[in-house]
Amino acid sequence: MADTASVRPAGALRRLRPSGALAGVVPFFAYTTVFLLIPTLVVVIGAFLDGDNRPTLGNVSALTQPAVVRGLVQSVVLSAVTALGGAVIGGVLAYAVSTARPGSVTQRFFTSLCGVLAQFGGVALAFAFIASFSAQGLLSVLLSEVGMSTGGGLWLYEWDRGLMLVYLYFQIPLMLIVFLPAVEGLRPQWREATETLGGTTWTYWRRVAGPILLPSFVGATLLLFTNAFSAYSTAKALVPQANPLLPLQIGSSLSSEVILGQENIGKAMAFEMVVVVAVVMALYAWLDKRSGRWMSR
């Protein structure tokens, strides 16, 4: 569709003074300055200031404390594992859904369900798993009946087992939603062409569909990574006391007023998060552009 509005030169209206036109965007920029740019600057600048507002690298070097490093490493590992796992499982799910008739109840049902579940993270999700895996929970009872013990469900509160399982619960649906358009872009004719040329299903996936889907797949995986990396409420509701992840450590540095100067270390940790997410998002934007080139119709 031709987007005539943006390509036509603004000749007809140019005689009006540009200063008058600029006044129209002042509210927007004023608002985003106060509620987005200033907070971002507060974090970035605060990361390099000490308690008396003097420049320092102390906060940044405090990031090398073992506890903070552990928080970062565990956050990255948790996000990477659930992004990869969610991407693979969600990718298979997206392909399965895409083989159903377009617009069928199956497709509508799964896209709606995943639309809700992808945003289900948070307090209610943590409760769902606690209710299921606590000593008298439904799944614990079911599993013990077939002879498997959930071990009292204590593993649920550990970042590398419980949190990974819980995070997968919103990562897989998110993958379906992000990846489905790419899978639906696969033309049946491509498979037929492969078969006509003597290719097997394996050839088709290895040489045709795989390379076409790869940029979208990697892009979606990166998106899942930032989604898990930024998540706070699910982990907070599941493990309220411990701070195994970077977002939880930032949260507790905000609410603890005991140690003076801790606040700026929180800003340094927040700055660290922004850097990680920014790198991943830049990669994502680059890949999205590339996959857009492949998938253009």
């Binding site: 509005a5 009006l16 927007f28 987005l36 907070p39 307090v123 930024s230 905000l254």
Partner: protein
Amino acid sequence: MSGRSAFRRRQRVFRWVTLTLLMVFFLLPLLGMLEFTLQGPGGNGRTLDTWRTLADVSQISLEYPALKEGFLASVGLAVITPLVMLVLLVPTMTWVRLRLPGLSRTVEFVCLLPLTVPAIVLVVGLTPVYAWVYYLVGSSTMWLALAYVVLVLPYAYRSLDAGLRAIDVRTLSEAARSLGASWFTVMWRVVLPNLRTAVLSASFLSVALVLGEFTIASLFSKKNLQVAMYELGKSDAKISVAVGLASLVFGFVVLFAMSFVGTRPAGAGRVARLRRPRPAKETP
């Protein structure tokens, strides 16, 4: 051709095996929730008490004032946030299209910036800003809406952008202006009605995000629905779990119904909106 039908059969088997397995994974924790809310006192027997309490509005507001307060706050925020977002974004985006096309990249960049700044980071930076807000206008929970608008900016921007692309704003507004309409009339009577679907979906995404928001409210010690649920989870877990399950089912019913209404792809969630491919700019 028998090869083709064998392939179709194999594909159907693969589809149903995959979908069934994942449905089990998705449904088990929800069944766990349901089963938990149905447990009788001391974990013995079955009772509908929790759901009866939840259905009884007067009893809920009497016995669980925190839940009532959080619910009302979330509903209020879910009304204010989309309103502020629309008042801020629709005129600006229209204006940039009409008069300042050179600024469109900047506006887009600013709107997508919150994707790179996680909510928890935003809280860190917003603390001094909110100190001023509270100082100037008081510390009502409703001021959280100002921060929520920033959270929904990327999603709202993409929805509205898609809507604006689909109509020729310039011709429409020039026609209205030449017939003597004021800029306000152009916005209210010409642009907005043409953007109905985009405005609706942007608002719906905002509502969904506001109702699920926990991070900012909890760290600013304000009580919204999620914070109330979190706190109630410690004292009366059953009611809290029931509220969580009810809101999930409600969300699903709304999305599923919406997938049959309108022409947009079924269940397009927040993130799907972001990935909508943009039409090529250099079309002749």
